[in-house]
Amino acid sequence: MDFDLSDDQRQIKDSVDRMLADAYADLKTKAAAQKEPLGFSKTLWAQYADQGLLGIPFAEGEGGLGAGPLETMLVMEAIGRNAAIDPYLSTVVLGGGILRHAGSSAQKAALIPDVIAGTRRLALAQQERQSRYDLADVSTTARAEGSGYVLNGEKMVVLGGDSADTLIVVARLAGAQRDRGGIGLFLVGGTAPGVKRTGYATQDGQRAADITFTDVTVGAEDVLVGKSGEALAVLERVTDEAIAGIAAEAVGAMHALHELTVDYVKTRKQFGVAIGSFQVIQHRCVDMFTMLEQARSMAYYATMMASDENATERRRAISAAKVQIGKSARFIGEQAIQLHGGIGMTMEYKAGHYFKRLTMIELQFGNTDHHLRLLAKAGGLIAPAAA
C-alpha cells in the first residue's frame, strides 16, 4: 500500500490547487462568474484546458493524459476545497466517462479532442421525474428509424445541461420502464431541433436544466449504445466513477470547512474568551475531524475501487463510500454552521457555500439511505462466518 503521490500526481495537484485557490479567493469573483452567460467563468474553463486538466482520464492516443481515478480525485478534491462551480463533473467525469467506455473510435476522435481543448462541454441526460436513483428507470424512448433513432421524453436536473454542446441521452429501446435491459445511449446536439432546455442555477451555485426531447432524430454515427440495449452497465460504471469523484470533492469541502471552523472558534470571542475554549465546542470540532478522516479514508477506497473490473465488488465499495461521505458531509456541514452562529447563515461567508454543496452531494447519485439499501441487499462488506 502506498498513500504517497507520484511526482506527476503531485504536479497535477499543485497546479489545480493553485489555479482554483486563485480563482476562488474572493466570493465576489465567484458571484460574478455565476452571472456570466454560461453561469461559470469561461476564462477559468480555458485555464483548466491549458493546464491539461480536461484531458486527465482520456487515453494518450486521444490527446489525453491517460491518467486514472486518482488524478481525477486530485482535481475533484481541489474543486471541493474551493467550492468551485465549474462543470468538470458533468463534462469530464460523466460525459467523458460515457465516451471512454461506450464511444466508438470514430466518436471518440470526433469529440474528445474538443473536450480536452475546452471547446466542447458534455452533459449526461439520465435522470427523469420519476426515476429518483434507479439508473434502470428510463421512460424516455428511442424508436428505430432508418439507420438511426427518434427520441422522445423528458429529463430532469441534467447537470451542466443548460449550456452543454453535446448531450448524452439515456433512452429506452425496449422493455418496461424499469427493465435492466433495453436501454440505449445517444449523442444529441444541445441545440438540435426538438430539444428544449430550461436552465437554472442549482442550490450549490452550479447549473442544470430540465430538457424535453420531441421527435429528436439521431443519426447512426451518434448512437453510442443501440440495438444491444446494454447501456446500464456503462451507466453504472460511470456513475460509480462520478461517486468517487464527488466523494473526493466532498472531502475537499469538508476539510476546508473544518479548517474554517477551527480557525473561527479560535478567534471568535464571547464572554471574554475564544469560544473554542469551551469544551463542548472542542469536542464538536474533534467529532467533525473524526468524521472528516473517516470520509477521507472512504474517498480513497472509492478511488481505488472505481476502476475495479469486478462490477459487484466495485459497486459495493462505492455504495459504502457514498454512505460514509453522506454521513460525514451532513454532520460536518451542520456543525460548521452551528459553531459559526449567525455568520454561518449568510452567503457572504464561505462556510455556507461548502455546506450547501455538501448537502447536494449527499443527494446526488443516490443518497445515504439508497446506498445503504444497495449495500445491505448486496450482503454488506463482510461475509458471514461459516455455520
Partner: protein
C-alpha cells in the same frame, strides 16, 4: 390527574380551527404549508384578521387585546394556528416588545404603541445582536448618549430580522459606559425613519432576504422612548427572552410539516412502491413523531406548572422546549429533503409555482438551510444546555 382534554377544551379547539380555516385566506395558508416565503402583505392581512377577532395576542392582558384563556387554551390556540398553517403573529410585536411595554412601559407608551403593535399597523424589529455580541449579548457596544433632551444613538446591530419592513426597532444600547456589562444598558424604542439609520440586507444561505445589518449614525431619539428605567434595560431584555418561549417548541408546525412530508412521501416512488411504504423511511418518520409527542406532553406539563409558578423567571424546562423543539423542526426539514431527493437541486427563487405542481420539491433545500437558524437564535442550543446545566445540575 387526567391527561385527556376536556369536552370544553375540545370544543374550543374546534372553534379556533373553524375560525382559522374559514377566515384566513387559503392562498396564504397554502404558502405556509408548502414553505413558500410570505409577502409582507400576507403577514399583515393574517394578523389583522386575528386582531379583529381579538386573537392576535392571547397572552396579553385583556385590556390590551388579550384573552382570559387558560394556559391549555393558549396551547391549543398556538397548536391549531400552526397546524392550520396560519402565519404566526409577528413575534417581535406580540411575544417580545409588547409584553415588555406592558410590564415596564408608561401608560402613555402603552397607549401609543400597543394597538398598532397588536394589529401589525406598525412592524417592529429586534435590535439586540451586534457583530461582537451574540450569545454574549451583554457585551453590546451600541451607545445612547444623552444630549439636549435626546438620546444620540451610535453603533451597529446585525441579524435584524425583517428590518426592511420595520417601522420601529426596539434597541438595547449602552447608556452608562462605565458600568459593568449588564448594568448600564437601556431599552429604547427607535423609529426606523429617523435620520442616521441605514439598513443593509444580508443574503442568507437559503437565498432569501430575512436578516439585515442596521447602522446607527448619530440617531436622535426622544428621551420618552426609554422603556423602564435608564440603565436597567437588561431587566426588560431578560423578561423578553423569557417570554420568547411562548410557542417556541413549534409543535403544531412540526405536526403540519410531518403530515405534509407523509403526503408527499406517499406520492414519490421508490422503484415500484411509494417512499412512505419503505420501512426504513417510515421508521425514520415514526421516530420523529415519537419525539414530537413526548415534547408535546412535556410542553403541557410545563404549561401546567407555569400556571402555578409565582416567579417571573423562566422555567429551566423552557430550555428543553427550545432544544428539542428546534431539533425536531430540523429533523422535519431533513426528512423533507430526503423526500425531494435529487429533485431538490434546482434553485427556483422566482418561480410563481414554487412548492406546487412540478416544483413541489423546490422549497425542501431552502427550508433545510434556513432552519439551521432555529438552533442558533433565541439563545443557541449550546447556551440552552448551559442554562439547564446551571439550573438542574448545579454547574
Amino acid at each position: 390527574m387526567d391527561l385527556r382534554f376536556t369536552p370544553e377544551e375540545n370544543a374550543f379547539r374546534h372553534e379556533v380551527r373553524t375560525f382559522f380555516t374559514s377566515e384566513i385566506p387559503l392562498a396564504i395558508r397554502q404558502k405556509v404549508e408548502v414553505g413558500e416565503h410570505l409577502a409582507k402583505e400576507d403577514m399583515v392581512l393574517a394578523q389583522k384578521t386575528l386582531a379583529k377577532k381579538g386573537w392576535a395576542a392571547p397572552h396579553w392582558p385583556k385590556e390590551w387585546g388579550g384573552t382570559d384563556w387558560t394556559p391549555i387554551q393558549r396551547h391549543i390556540y398556538t397548536e391549531e394556528l400552526q397546524a392550520c398553517s396560519v402565519p404566526q403573529p409577528l413575534a417581535f410585536n406580540i411575544s417580545m416588545c409588547g409584553p415588555v411595554i406592558i410590564a415596564f412601559g408608561t401608560e402613555a407608551q402603552k397607549k401609543r404603541y400597543l394597538k398598532p403593535m397588536y394589529d401589525l399597523s406598525e412592524w417592529w424589529c429586534q435590535g439586540f445582536s451586534e457583530p461582537g455580541a451574540g450569545s454574549d449579548l451583554a457585551s453590546l457596544k451600541t451607545t445612547a448618549v444623552k444630549k439636549d433632551g435626546h438620546y444620540i444613538i451610535n453603533g451597529q446591530k446585525t441579524w435584524t430580522t425583517l428590518a426592511q419592513y420595520a417601522d420601529w426597532c426596539f434597541v438595547l444600547a449602552r447608556t452608562d459606559p462605565d458600568a459593568k456589562k449588564q448594568l448600564g444598558i437601556s431599552f429604547i424604542l427607535v423609529d426606523m425613519k429617523t435620520p442616521g439609520i441605514t439598513v443593509r440586507p444580508i443574503q442568507t444561505i437559503d437565498g432569501g432576504h430575512e436578516v439585515n445589518e442596521v447602522f446607527f449614525d448619530d440617531v436622535k431619539v426622544s428621551l420618552e422612548n426609554l422603556v423602564g428605567m435608564e440603565n436597567r434595560g437588561w431587566d426588560c431584555a431578560k423578561y423578553l427572552l423569557g417570554n420568547e418561549r411562548v410557542g417556541i417548541a413549534r409543535i403544531g408546525m412540526s405536526k403540519q410539516r410531518l403530515s405534509r412530508i407523509k403526503q408527499l412521501a406517499g406520492k414519490v416512488m421508490l422503484g415500484d412502491k411509494p417512499l412512505m411504504a419503505d420501512e426504513r423511511f417510515a421508521e425514520k418518520v415514526a421516530a420523529v413523531e415519537v419525539e414530537l409527542k413526548a415534547l408535546e406532553m412535556t410542553q403541557l406539563r410545563v404549561l401546567a406548572e407555569d400556571a402555578k409558578r409565582k416567579s417571573n423567571m423562566p422555567n429551566p424546562a423552557s430550555s428543553i422546549l427550545k432544544i428539542k423543539g428546534s431539533e425536531i423542526q430540523q429533523a422535519t426539514t431533513e426528512l423533507a429533503l430526503e423526500v425531494a431527493g435529487p429533485l431538490s437541486l434546482p434553485f427556483l427563487p422566482d418561480e410563481a409555482d414554487f412548492g406546487t405542481g412540478d416544483h413541489w420539491a423546490a422549497p425542501a433545500a431552502p427550508a433545510y438551510f434556513n432552519f439551521r437558524k432555529v438552533s442558533i437564535y433565541g439563545g443557541s442550543n449550546e447556551i440552552q444546555r448551559n442554562i439547564i446545566a446551571k439550573a438542574v445540575l448545579g454547574f
